[in-house]
Point group: C2
Chain length 423, copies 2
């Protein structure tokens, strides 16, 4: 049943049959959402104990004696820094704990370098004409939003199954000193779900950029976010960088947004002493310190890094059947048709589907009209998807039953859009 081999007649029959299914779904008046990587209420319920673990009976002091209720604690309380150091695979001293969002910390990092040069002999990025940023595609729309806001020309770099195409990355950064950085989600990448191979991580660590102030924005959002029993392993970029004297290249980010409460988690960054000096030089005027009571709440609720890992098993138990539902629907409804391919991630928050070229927007539109909201087609590319093919599916928020129905509709839409196109 390869669509490419359909004749005019069989194609017409297929369309007529698909339209009938589609209209049936449409008549159901559904409202299902697979657009954003939001935890489900069931996942958020896992952390409700956070509201009970600190009470008015407790003394709210950090391990170093800091009163968490008062000002101070510039870079975070020690026990919280320790957890993030383990999450990111760095020394505790290399961690800065921020507010409720790693995205906010990434924005602030780029913002810092826009006005404060990274070295005495480099320029603030605002003064760099034709400044550019590398954007592996498909990638995370909110990353592209930040560099777009700050006026970078964004250069798409194809993602392979083991990470960004490093031949292209190496060539581009070596020849153009107006390329100031690259966005990476190295583990369970958004949206493809792949994890960078050891070879890719080593090639990142060994980069020789023309720009002395080129930086790797290493957004390790899904560092402990497995959804199968065969998790991926990510090589430690900082350790590799040290082997090449490149420890000033990466700035690493993560948060508890998809571990505890998404809007009320704790975020952190880690980087080498040079970058940290520049960033602390800014934080010194930006903040007296972030929310230490919330840091303490997290430490107390998880009881440390091991407890946090145990907590992630509960998330996995909820997410695993959802990912399985998406993948089994794709398999049963779309495999062998020659019109779609997809990834099978071991973790993260997304499944990336490439539908028949030129039909992604149409699929999203068809789904929307049948009550199924998807991320806008093209959002995973800085300036839209030239092939109009990539769609990001976020299985986390709906229930398994909703997902199952939403995926039935999605698959009908993928087939219908392809058939329409082939007519």
């Amino acid at each position: 049943m390869d669509y490419m081999k359909f004749t005019g007649d069989t194609l017409a029959n297929e369309i007529s049959s698909l339209v009938k299914s589609y209209e049936g779904y449409k008549a159901m008046g559904l409202s299902l959402n697979m657009a954003r990587g939001k935890p489900s209420p069931e996942q958020l319920d896992l952390s409700m104990g956070m509201l009970d673990c600190l009470t008015s009976k407790d003394v709210l002091n950090a391990s170093d004696g800091t009163d968490c209720r008062n000002y101070g604690g510039f870079d975070g309380i020690p026990e919280c820094k320790e957890i993030f150091a383990k999450l990111l695979g760095v020394e505790t001293d290399d961690v800065f704990v921020g507010g409720n969002s790693s995205l906010n910390m990434m924005f602030d990092t780029i913002s810092t370098f826009m006005t404060s040069p990274l070295y005495e002999d480099t320029e603030p990025w605002l003064n760099v004409q034709n400044r550019k940023f590398l954007c592996p595609v498909p990638g995370y729309d909110r990353h592209f939003g930040i560099t777009g806001y700050f006026g970078f020309k964004m250069i798409p770099v194809p993602m392979n199954e083991d990470g960004p195409d490093m031949n292209i990355v190496e060539r581009l950064v070596a020849e153009d000193d107006t390329i100031k950085g690259i966005w990476c989600v190295p583990k369970y990448s958004n949206p493809t779900g792949i994890t960078y191979s050891d070879d890719v991580v080593r090639r990142f660590a060994a980069l020789r950029p023309a720009a002395k102030d080129f930086r790797i924005m290493w957004d390790n959002a899904y560092c402990v976010h497995d959804v199968t029993d065969t998790p991926d392993n990510l090589l430690n970029l900082m350790d590799e960088c040290k082997k090449y004297g490149n420890e000033d290249l990466p700035i690493m980010f993560c948060s508890t947004s998809k571990i505890s409460f998404s809007g009320s988690g704790v975020a952190a960054l880690a980087t080498d002493k040079h970058n940290m000096k520049v960033l602390r030089g800014k934080y010194n005027y930006q903040t007296i310190g972030y929310d230490k009571v919330n840091m303490l709440r997290h430490v107390k609720f998880f009881g440390g890094y091991e407890g946090l890992l145990d907590h992630m098993k509960k998330h996995k138990a909820i997410l695993k059947p959802k990912f399985e539902t998406v993948l089994s629907k794709l398999e049963s409804e779309l495999s062998g048709l020659g019109i779609a391919s997809w990834t099978r991630p071991n973790g993260g928050y997304f499944v990336s589907v490439n539908v028949y070229n030129g039909t992604a927007k149409r699929v999203v539109e068809l789904c929307k009209n049948a009550g199924v909201t998807l991320t806008n087609a093209g959002a995973t590319f800085p300036y839209g998807d030239p092939d109009d093919s990539n769609i990001r599916i976020a299985p986390s928020f709906p229930s398994v039953e909703e997902l199952s129905l939403a995926m039935d509709i999605f698959c009908v839409c993928v087939r219908l859009a392809a058939a329409e196109r082939l007519v």
Copy 2:
């Protein structure tokens, strides 16, 4: 006993007597801190109920149905915006609720304008050569820190008893379009504790700056922070600005840092639709939304604006005797000597003392050596105090007993430093 009328002999006797007192205090090996405007543990205890008002039994939805645990709620939950609208005297729609710190929001605001022009025909401030900012003095060191970090030349403007010297402000902003803003703490100013008069507020509202993108940074940090039973009243700047078509001039800030927990409060800004569009245009890439569980916690604990005002009465009950202790010590130990003057604020967190010219650093040093920490002399001026006279006293953190002792030592140091100078 006017020091100015002392002869050589009486001065020598005075010094000898003061040194004896001073050495006595020094021998006590004290450690007292009047440096920063930090709430005392007793004040923080007032808000411990915040840790009990949301539990795992509660549904954490905002009034508009938003699940506060999840992503979203870009500009804050409605019921929290309402409280801030009342605190700042603006419409709820003009409020943006941020993270845990208004200082952070002020930094981010200046940071935004450094790279994003306020109007199509103005420049990002980074590109303005010789950019300048007006700094009423004595003022708040952390304000000066922000504009210093961003490379502004800071122009001190003398503070009078009714606010900044508006003759100077009006003249400077009218003649120099590289002056981009002014820092103001309009109520219970840091450190003098004075409140801007109606006339001063009206003159701010009527400013005609040469720079189209001149902005008033209106840090209303102490808007409900009375310490006496005769509170000051601040005219509503936004209402006045509207009368002059100047509603794009002010950006107003406040927070609950000195209402609930200092490190774990909620902050907000308010401004007109034009500035808000620029700022939201930035926030749109900087955040998905700040900590809504903490916003909900605050709303539930205070029960609304009126409840928050009631809560402030408890703070006042703790702070009032502390301010009285400071003032009565100054009165009994320093009045009539001709070597010191001070303010008698009705609110805020500071008493500002002008000691004998050329001795502020010496007083701070003497105090330090006797175990009493004060804010560094000169910190209340962007480039140091030309008269070496102003010292900021923060009475909030120590107990009344500690304060009493610390003020005894302070007064001896003020007299000793003056006497040394007069020899």
